[in-house]
Protein backbone atom coordinates (compact mmCIF):
# COMPACT_ATOMS: atom_id res chain seq x y z
CA UNK A 1 0.00 0.00 0.00
CA UNK A 2 1.71 3.16 -1.12
CA UNK A 3 0.91 6.52 0.39
CA UNK A 4 -1.47 8.64 -1.65
CA UNK A 5 -3.21 11.59 -0.06
CA UNK A 6 -5.18 12.62 -3.13
CA UNK A 7 -8.93 12.79 -2.85
CA UNK A 8 -11.16 12.86 -5.92
CA UNK A 9 -13.22 15.98 -5.24
CA UNK A 10 -13.47 19.20 -3.30
CA UNK A 11 -16.40 17.63 -1.46
CA UNK A 12 -14.17 14.79 -0.28
CA UNK A 13 -11.45 17.25 0.61
CA UNK A 14 -13.54 19.14 3.17
CA UNK A 15 -15.44 16.14 4.52
CA UNK A 16 -15.84 15.97 8.28
CA UNK A 17 -14.96 19.54 9.24
CA UNK A 18 -16.87 20.04 12.46
CA UNK A 19 -18.99 22.91 13.69
CA UNK A 20 -16.92 25.09 15.96
CA UNK A 21 -13.65 24.20 14.26
CA UNK A 22 -10.67 26.54 14.13
CA UNK A 23 -9.94 26.86 10.40
CA UNK A 24 -6.71 28.45 9.19
CA UNK A 25 -7.01 29.73 5.63
CA UNK A 26 -3.91 30.65 3.61
CA UNK A 27 -3.61 33.78 1.52
CA UNK A 28 -2.55 37.39 1.75
CA UNK A 29 -5.02 39.75 0.21
CA UNK A 30 -5.89 37.85 -2.93
CA UNK A 31 -2.64 35.86 -3.37
CA UNK A 32 -2.73 32.25 -2.22
CA UNK A 33 -6.38 32.08 -1.26
CA UNK A 34 -7.80 28.54 -1.49
CA UNK A 35 -11.03 29.92 -2.91
CA UNK A 36 -12.40 26.60 -4.18
CA UNK A 37 -11.80 24.88 -0.83
CA UNK A 38 -13.54 27.72 0.99
CA UNK A 39 -16.50 27.46 -1.38
CA UNK A 40 -16.58 23.70 -0.75
CA UNK A 41 -16.57 24.40 2.98
CA UNK A 42 -19.62 26.63 2.49
CA UNK A 43 -21.35 23.74 0.70
CA UNK A 44 -20.24 21.33 3.43
CA UNK A 45 -22.06 23.43 5.97
CA UNK A 46 -19.81 23.64 9.04
CA UNK A 47 -20.71 26.65 11.18
CA UNK A 48 -19.63 28.55 14.29
CA UNK A 49 -16.11 28.56 12.89
CA UNK A 50 -13.07 30.50 14.06
CA UNK A 51 -11.10 31.57 11.00
CA UNK A 52 -7.39 32.42 11.04
CA UNK A 53 -6.28 34.44 8.02
CA UNK A 54 -4.05 37.44 7.46
CA UNK A 55 -7.06 39.46 6.33
CA UNK A 56 -10.79 39.11 6.64
CA UNK A 57 -11.89 38.50 3.09
CA UNK A 58 -12.07 40.86 0.14
CA UNK A 59 -14.75 41.21 -2.48
CA UNK A 60 -17.54 38.66 -2.42
CA UNK A 61 -15.76 35.35 -3.02
CA UNK A 62 -13.86 32.92 -0.86
CA UNK A 63 -13.55 33.97 2.78
CA UNK A 64 -15.84 36.96 2.21
CA UNK A 65 -18.51 34.54 0.98
CA UNK A 66 -17.99 32.28 4.00
CA UNK A 67 -18.44 35.29 6.28
CA UNK A 68 -21.52 36.42 4.36
CA UNK A 69 -22.99 32.94 4.80
CA UNK A 70 -22.88 33.49 8.55
CA UNK A 71 -20.62 30.54 9.28
CA UNK A 72 -17.90 32.39 11.15
CA UNK A 73 -18.08 33.27 14.82
CA UNK A 74 -14.62 34.82 15.11
CA UNK A 75 -11.78 36.01 12.92
CA UNK A 76 -8.14 36.05 14.03
CA UNK A 77 -6.16 38.22 11.61
CA UNK A 78 -3.73 41.10 11.27
CA UNK A 79 -5.54 43.37 8.84
CA UNK A 80 -9.33 43.16 8.46
CA UNK A 81 -9.69 46.70 7.16
CA UNK A 82 -9.39 47.46 3.49
CA UNK A 83 -11.57 49.15 0.95
CA UNK A 84 -12.56 45.73 -0.36
CA UNK A 85 -13.30 44.06 2.99
CA UNK A 86 -16.92 45.13 2.87
CA UNK A 87 -18.53 41.92 4.12
CA UNK A 88 -16.41 41.67 7.25
CA UNK A 89 -16.76 45.33 8.10
CA UNK A 90 -20.54 45.20 7.91
CA UNK A 91 -20.66 42.15 10.18
CA UNK A 92 -18.20 43.73 12.60
CA UNK A 93 -20.06 47.02 12.85
CA UNK A 94 -23.27 45.11 13.48
CA UNK A 95 -21.59 43.18 16.29
CA UNK A 96 -22.18 39.90 14.48
CA UNK A 97 -18.59 38.70 14.51
CA UNK A 98 -15.70 38.60 16.97
CA UNK A 99 -12.31 39.93 16.00
CA UNK A 100 -8.84 39.27 17.41
CA UNK A 101 -6.26 41.53 15.77
CA UNK A 102 -2.71 40.20 15.94
CA UNK A 103 0.41 41.85 14.49
CA UNK A 104 1.23 40.07 11.25
CA UNK A 105 4.60 38.78 12.41
CA UNK A 106 3.15 37.59 15.69
CA UNK A 107 0.37 35.84 13.77
CA UNK A 108 2.89 34.01 11.59
CA UNK A 109 5.08 33.18 14.58
CA UNK A 110 2.15 31.97 16.69
CA UNK A 111 1.13 29.63 13.88
CA UNK A 112 4.69 28.39 13.50
CA UNK A 113 4.90 27.89 17.26
CA UNK A 114 1.68 25.89 17.10
CA UNK A 115 3.21 23.70 14.43
CA UNK A 116 6.63 23.44 16.03
CA UNK A 117 5.55 22.49 19.56
CA UNK A 118 6.63 25.77 21.14
CA UNK A 119 4.59 26.44 24.27
CA UNK A 120 4.95 30.22 24.06
CA UNK A 121 7.44 32.89 23.08
CA UNK A 122 8.50 36.39 23.96
CA UNK A 123 8.49 39.13 21.32
CA UNK A 124 9.11 42.88 21.51
CA UNK A 125 6.37 43.42 18.91
CA UNK A 126 3.32 45.17 20.38
CA UNK A 127 5.05 45.89 23.71
CA UNK A 128 3.66 49.12 25.10
CA UNK A 129 0.73 49.14 22.69
CA UNK A 130 -2.97 48.36 23.12
CA UNK A 131 -2.44 44.95 21.49
CA UNK A 132 -0.36 43.89 24.49
CA UNK A 133 -3.05 44.82 27.00
CA UNK A 134 -3.79 41.97 29.38
CA UNK A 135 -0.78 40.03 28.18
CA UNK A 136 2.13 38.97 30.34
CA UNK A 137 5.28 40.99 29.72
CA UNK A 138 8.90 40.50 30.64
CA UNK A 139 12.05 42.56 30.27
CA UNK A 140 14.73 40.60 28.40
CA UNK A 141 18.07 42.24 27.68
CA UNK A 142 16.63 45.55 28.77
CA UNK A 143 13.78 45.43 26.28
CA UNK A 144 10.07 44.92 26.93
CA UNK A 145 8.71 41.67 25.53
CA UNK A 146 5.18 40.30 25.30
CA UNK A 147 4.43 36.63 25.96
CA UNK A 148 2.50 35.13 23.06
CA UNK A 149 0.97 31.67 22.89
CA UNK A 150 0.74 29.36 19.90
CA UNK A 151 -2.21 29.11 17.54
CA UNK A 152 -3.21 25.59 16.62
CA UNK A 153 -5.92 24.94 14.08
CA UNK A 154 -8.22 21.99 13.66
CA UNK A 155 -8.11 22.42 9.91
CA UNK A 156 -5.94 24.31 7.44
CA UNK A 157 -7.18 25.12 3.96
CA UNK A 158 -4.13 25.74 1.80
CA UNK A 159 -3.52 26.68 -1.82
CA UNK A 160 -0.37 25.24 -3.36
CA UNK A 161 1.13 25.26 -6.82
CA UNK A 162 2.36 21.67 -7.11
CA UNK A 163 1.74 18.66 -4.91
CA UNK A 164 2.93 15.08 -5.14
CA UNK A 165 0.89 12.12 -3.88
CA UNK A 166 2.75 12.11 -0.53
CA UNK A 167 1.78 15.76 -0.05
CA UNK A 168 5.04 17.59 -0.69
CA UNK A 169 4.15 21.11 -1.78
CA UNK A 170 5.53 24.05 -3.70
CA UNK A 171 3.98 27.50 -4.04
CA UNK A 172 4.12 30.37 -6.53
CA UNK A 173 5.91 33.59 -5.58
CA UNK A 174 4.20 35.65 -2.87
CA UNK A 175 1.24 33.25 -2.83
CA UNK A 176 3.31 31.16 -0.38
CA UNK A 177 2.76 33.55 2.56
CA UNK A 178 0.94 31.89 5.48
CA UNK A 179 0.43 28.46 3.91
CA UNK A 180 3.58 26.73 5.24
CA UNK A 181 2.99 27.87 8.83
CA UNK A 182 -0.71 26.98 8.68
CA UNK A 183 0.04 23.54 7.24
CA UNK A 184 2.25 22.93 10.28
CA UNK A 185 -0.23 24.31 12.79
CA UNK A 186 -3.28 22.28 11.77
CA UNK A 187 -4.39 18.82 12.79
CA UNK A 188 -5.96 18.29 9.36
CA UNK A 189 -4.26 20.06 6.46
CA UNK A 190 -6.24 20.15 3.24
CA UNK A 191 -4.56 21.35 0.06
CA UNK A 192 -5.84 22.50 -3.29
CA UNK A 193 -2.97 22.23 -5.75
CA UNK A 194 -2.87 23.68 -9.23
CA UNK A 195 -1.11 20.53 -10.38
CA UNK A 196 -0.60 17.13 -8.85
CA UNK A 197 2.67 15.72 -10.13
CA UNK A 198 4.25 12.30 -9.76
CA UNK A 199 6.43 11.15 -6.88
CA UNK A 200 9.94 12.38 -7.56
CA UNK A 201 8.80 15.19 -9.85
CA UNK A 202 9.43 17.73 -7.11
CA UNK A 203 13.15 17.94 -6.37
CA UNK A 204 13.60 17.20 -2.64
CA UNK A 205 15.68 20.40 -2.44
CA UNK A 206 12.72 22.48 -3.68
CA UNK A 207 9.97 21.13 -1.44
CA UNK A 208 8.61 23.99 0.65
CA UNK A 209 6.03 22.14 2.75
CA UNK A 210 7.18 18.56 3.40
CA UNK A 211 4.54 15.87 3.15
CA UNK A 212 4.41 15.22 6.89
CA UNK A 213 2.29 18.36 7.29
CA UNK A 214 -0.28 17.44 4.64
CA UNK A 215 -3.33 15.20 4.92
CA UNK A 216 -5.52 15.63 1.83
CA UNK A 217 -4.84 16.93 -1.67
CA UNK A 218 -7.30 17.89 -4.35
CA UNK A 219 -6.27 19.16 -7.76
CA UNK A 220 -7.83 22.46 -8.86
CA UNK A 221 -6.04 23.11 -12.12
CA UNK A 222 -7.59 26.46 -12.95
CA UNK A 223 -8.33 28.20 -9.69
CA UNK A 224 -10.39 31.36 -9.57
CA UNK A 225 -8.25 34.47 -9.33
CA UNK A 226 -9.99 36.74 -6.87
CA UNK A 227 -7.54 39.51 -7.74
CA UNK A 228 -8.10 39.24 -11.47
CA UNK A 229 -11.84 39.41 -10.85
CA UNK A 230 -11.36 42.52 -8.73
CA UNK A 231 -9.13 44.08 -11.39
CA UNK A 232 -11.84 43.54 -13.99
CA UNK A 233 -14.27 45.37 -11.72
CA UNK A 234 -11.80 48.24 -11.30
CA UNK A 235 -11.06 48.42 -15.02
CA UNK A 236 -14.73 48.44 -15.93
Amino acid sequence: MSIDKRVPSLEDAVRGIADGAVVAISGFGEAGNPTELVHALIEQGAKDLTVVNNNAGTGRMGLAKLLAAGRVRKVICSFPRSAKSVVFQELYKDGKIELEVVPQGTLAERLRAGGAGIGGFYTPTAAGTPLAEGKETRIIDGRDHVLEFPIRADVALIKADKADPFGNLTYRKAARNFAPAMAMAATLTIVQAREVVGLGDIDPEHVVTPSIFVDRIVEVSQPISEAAALLQQVSR
Binding site: R81, G105, E109, T129, S235
Partner: protein
Protein backbone atom coordinates in the same frame (compact mmCIF):
# COMPACT_ATOMS: atom_id res chain seq x y z
CA UNK B 1 8.01 82.27 0.87
CA UNK B 2 7.67 78.74 2.21
CA UNK B 3 8.04 76.10 -0.50
CA UNK B 4 6.89 72.77 0.96
CA UNK B 5 7.87 69.61 -0.90
CA UNK B 6 5.24 67.68 -2.80
CA UNK B 7 4.78 63.98 -2.08
CA UNK B 8 7.20 62.81 -4.74
CA UNK B 9 9.79 65.27 -3.55
CA UNK B 10 9.39 63.95 -0.01
CA UNK B 11 9.86 60.40 -1.33
CA UNK B 12 12.90 61.57 -3.29
CA UNK B 13 14.38 63.12 -0.17
CA UNK B 14 13.99 59.88 1.80
CA UNK B 15 15.61 57.95 -1.05
CA UNK B 16 18.76 60.11 -0.79
CA UNK B 17 19.32 58.90 2.78
CA UNK B 18 19.22 55.19 1.93
CA UNK B 19 22.78 53.90 1.50
CA UNK B 20 23.59 51.58 -1.40
CA UNK B 21 23.42 47.92 -0.43
CA UNK B 22 20.67 48.46 2.13
CA UNK B 23 17.79 46.06 2.74
CA UNK B 24 14.69 48.20 3.00
CA UNK B 25 10.98 47.72 3.61
CA UNK B 26 8.64 50.40 2.30
CA UNK B 27 5.31 50.70 4.08
CA UNK B 28 2.03 50.99 2.25
CA UNK B 29 1.14 54.39 0.77
CA UNK B 30 3.59 57.25 0.47
CA UNK B 31 6.60 55.11 1.53
CA UNK B 32 6.11 52.99 -1.60
CA UNK B 33 6.89 56.05 -3.73
CA UNK B 34 10.48 56.06 -2.42
CA UNK B 35 11.49 53.29 -4.81
CA UNK B 36 10.73 55.58 -7.79
CA UNK B 37 13.33 58.11 -6.75
CA UNK B 38 16.50 56.17 -5.96
CA UNK B 39 19.79 57.52 -7.23
CA UNK B 40 20.78 55.49 -10.29
CA UNK B 41 24.13 54.45 -8.87
CA UNK B 42 22.75 52.79 -5.74
CA UNK B 43 21.43 49.26 -5.53
CA UNK B 44 18.89 48.77 -2.78
CA UNK B 45 17.12 45.48 -2.06
CA UNK B 46 13.46 45.90 -1.22
CA UNK B 47 11.75 43.54 1.19
CA UNK B 48 8.04 42.98 1.13
CA UNK B 49 6.56 41.40 4.23
CA UNK B 50 4.35 38.98 2.33
CA UNK B 51 7.47 37.08 1.30
CA UNK B 52 9.59 38.89 -1.28
CA UNK B 53 13.20 40.01 -1.10
CA UNK B 54 14.26 41.83 -4.25
CA UNK B 55 10.96 43.42 -5.13
CA UNK B 56 11.13 45.27 -8.46
CA UNK B 57 8.95 47.96 -10.04
CA UNK B 58 5.17 47.79 -10.13
CA UNK B 59 3.93 45.42 -12.87
CA UNK B 60 3.02 46.94 -16.21
CA UNK B 61 -0.68 47.02 -17.03
CA UNK B 62 -1.65 43.74 -18.64
CA UNK B 63 1.42 41.96 -17.27
CA UNK B 64 0.18 41.47 -13.73
CA UNK B 65 0.89 38.21 -11.93
CA UNK B 66 -1.51 38.15 -9.01
CA UNK B 67 0.71 35.71 -7.12
CA UNK B 68 3.31 38.49 -6.98
CA UNK B 69 1.83 41.43 -5.12
CA UNK B 70 3.04 43.96 -2.58
CA UNK B 71 1.91 44.21 1.02
CA UNK B 72 -0.56 46.75 -0.34
CA UNK B 73 -1.76 44.03 -2.74
CA UNK B 74 -0.50 45.79 -5.86
CA UNK B 75 0.94 43.62 -8.68
CA UNK B 76 4.69 43.97 -8.68
CA UNK B 77 7.81 42.40 -10.20
CA UNK B 78 10.94 40.73 -8.87
CA UNK B 79 14.54 41.53 -9.77
CA UNK B 80 17.27 39.03 -10.66
CA UNK B 81 18.60 37.79 -7.33
CA UNK B 82 15.18 37.85 -5.64
CA UNK B 83 13.99 35.26 -3.14
CA UNK B 84 10.54 34.12 -2.08
CA UNK B 85 9.77 32.78 1.40
CA UNK B 86 6.88 32.34 3.76
CA UNK B 87 5.41 34.79 6.24
CA UNK B 88 7.16 33.30 9.27
CA UNK B 89 10.56 33.63 7.58
CA UNK B 90 9.67 37.07 6.30
CA UNK B 91 8.88 38.34 9.77
CA UNK B 92 11.95 36.58 11.14
CA UNK B 93 13.88 38.94 8.88
CA UNK B 94 11.95 41.94 10.12
CA UNK B 95 11.85 41.05 13.81
CA UNK B 96 15.39 39.68 13.89
CA UNK B 97 16.84 43.08 13.08
CA UNK B 98 17.97 42.22 9.57
CA UNK B 99 16.28 45.09 7.75
CA UNK B 100 18.48 48.15 7.57
CA UNK B 101 15.60 50.56 7.18
CA UNK B 102 11.81 50.57 7.31
CA UNK B 103 10.16 53.59 5.74
CA UNK B 104 6.76 54.10 7.33
CA UNK B 105 3.94 56.58 7.38
CA UNK B 106 2.77 58.15 10.63
CA UNK B 107 -0.23 59.69 12.32
CA UNK B 108 2.01 60.96 15.10
CA UNK B 109 5.64 60.82 16.18
CA UNK B 110 6.63 61.72 19.73
CA UNK B 111 9.69 63.65 20.85
CA UNK B 112 11.12 60.34 22.12
CA UNK B 113 10.59 58.55 18.81
CA UNK B 114 7.35 56.77 19.66
CA UNK B 115 5.37 55.99 16.53
CA UNK B 116 1.59 55.95 16.13
CA UNK B 117 0.55 54.88 12.65
CA UNK B 118 -1.98 52.07 12.93
CA UNK B 119 -5.04 53.32 14.76
CA UNK B 120 -6.69 56.60 15.57
CA UNK B 121 -8.30 54.85 18.51
CA UNK B 122 -11.74 56.08 17.46
CA UNK B 123 -14.65 54.02 18.67
CA UNK B 124 -16.38 52.18 15.84
CA UNK B 125 -13.37 51.92 13.55
CA UNK B 126 -12.22 48.41 12.75
CA UNK B 127 -8.81 47.81 14.31
CA UNK B 128 -6.18 46.62 11.81
CA UNK B 129 -2.44 46.52 12.32
CA UNK B 130 -0.89 44.39 9.56
CA UNK B 131 2.90 44.35 9.82
CA UNK B 132 3.26 47.89 11.17
CA UNK B 133 4.23 46.94 14.73
CA UNK B 134 6.70 44.31 13.56
CA UNK B 135 8.38 46.71 11.14
CA UNK B 136 8.53 49.57 13.61
CA UNK B 137 9.95 47.35 16.35
CA UNK B 138 12.27 45.24 14.19
CA UNK B 139 14.04 47.41 11.64
CA UNK B 140 17.44 48.84 12.59
CA UNK B 141 16.31 52.30 11.48
CA UNK B 142 12.79 53.64 11.08
CA UNK B 143 12.36 56.52 8.64
CA UNK B 144 9.00 58.24 8.84
CA UNK B 145 7.63 60.04 5.80
CA UNK B 146 4.69 62.29 6.52
CA UNK B 147 3.28 65.74 5.98
CA UNK B 148 4.49 67.98 8.77
CA UNK B 149 0.96 68.65 10.00
CA UNK B 150 -2.46 67.13 9.50
CA UNK B 151 -4.84 68.50 6.90
CA UNK B 152 -6.31 70.61 9.69
CA UNK B 153 -2.90 72.04 10.51
CA UNK B 154 -2.46 70.08 13.74
CA UNK B 155 1.15 69.09 14.47
CA UNK B 156 2.14 65.44 13.96
CA UNK B 157 5.47 65.69 15.81
CA UNK B 158 4.34 66.13 19.37
CA UNK B 159 5.57 65.66 22.96
CA UNK B 160 3.63 62.41 23.48
CA UNK B 161 1.43 60.49 21.05
CA UNK B 162 -2.28 60.71 21.83
CA UNK B 163 -3.13 57.90 19.39
CA UNK B 164 -2.45 54.25 20.30
CA UNK B 165 1.25 53.45 19.84
CA UNK B 166 2.68 51.27 17.12
CA UNK B 167 6.01 51.03 18.94
CA UNK B 168 7.86 53.06 21.54
CA UNK B 169 11.14 54.86 20.94
CA UNK B 170 11.83 53.48 17.48
CA UNK B 171 11.79 56.40 15.04
CA UNK B 172 15.20 57.39 13.69
CA UNK B 173 14.30 60.27 11.37
CA UNK B 174 11.21 62.08 10.13
CA UNK B 175 11.01 63.36 6.55
CA UNK B 176 8.23 65.91 6.11
CA UNK B 177 7.26 68.41 3.45
CA UNK B 178 9.02 71.07 5.52
CA UNK B 179 12.00 69.46 7.21
CA UNK B 180 14.22 66.50 7.91
CA UNK B 181 14.30 65.84 11.64
CA UNK B 182 16.39 63.25 13.46
CA UNK B 183 15.15 61.86 16.75
CA UNK B 184 18.11 62.26 19.08
CA UNK B 185 18.58 61.26 22.68
CA UNK B 186 17.30 64.64 23.78
CA UNK B 187 14.48 64.87 21.28
CA UNK B 188 13.99 66.03 17.70
CA UNK B 189 16.88 67.78 15.95
CA UNK B 190 16.26 69.69 12.72
CA UNK B 191 18.77 68.63 10.08
CA UNK B 192 17.20 70.34 7.07
CA UNK B 193 14.47 72.91 6.49
CA UNK B 194 12.89 74.15 3.28
CA UNK B 195 13.91 77.60 2.09
CA UNK B 196 11.81 80.52 3.26
CA UNK B 197 10.95 78.89 6.57
CA UNK B 198 12.44 80.14 9.81
CA UNK B 199 13.17 77.85 12.72
CA UNK B 200 10.46 79.64 14.68
CA UNK B 201 7.99 79.02 11.83
CA UNK B 202 8.85 75.34 11.92
CA UNK B 203 8.61 75.20 15.69
CA UNK B 204 5.19 76.85 15.47
CA UNK B 205 3.97 73.95 13.32
CA UNK B 206 5.49 71.32 15.62
CA UNK B 207 4.16 70.17 18.96
CA UNK B 208 7.44 68.84 20.35
CA UNK B 209 10.30 71.16 21.22
CA UNK B 210 12.81 71.17 18.38
CA UNK B 211 16.54 71.71 18.45
CA UNK B 212 18.26 73.27 15.46
CA UNK B 213 21.30 71.34 14.33
CA UNK B 214 24.34 73.61 14.06
CA UNK B 215 24.87 72.08 10.61
CA UNK B 216 21.27 72.51 9.47
CA UNK B 217 20.97 72.80 5.69
CA UNK B 218 18.32 73.86 3.22
CA UNK B 219 15.93 71.02 2.31
CA UNK B 220 15.96 70.91 -1.48
CA UNK B 221 14.47 68.51 -3.98
CA UNK B 222 14.32 68.59 -7.76
CA UNK B 223 11.03 69.37 -9.49
CA UNK B 224 9.21 66.04 -9.77
CA UNK B 225 5.90 65.16 -11.27
CA UNK B 226 3.54 62.76 -9.60
CA UNK B 227 4.23 59.02 -9.92
CA UNK B 228 1.72 56.94 -11.83
CA UNK B 229 0.04 54.29 -9.75
CA UNK B 230 -1.37 50.91 -10.66
CA UNK B 231 -5.18 51.10 -10.65
CA UNK B 232 -5.72 48.10 -8.34
Amino acid sequence: MTAPLNRDQMAWRVAQDIPGGSYVNLGIGMPEMVSNHLPEDRQIIFHCENGILGMGPVAAMGEEDFDLVTAGKKPVTAIAGAAFFDSADSFAMIRGGHLDIAVLGAFQVSAGGDLANWSTGLAGSTPAVGGAMDLAQGARAVFVITEHTTKDGAPKIIPECSYPLTAAGVVTSVFTDLAVIDIGKNGPVVREMVAGLSFDDLQARTGATLTLSPTCKVLKAPALKATQRHPI
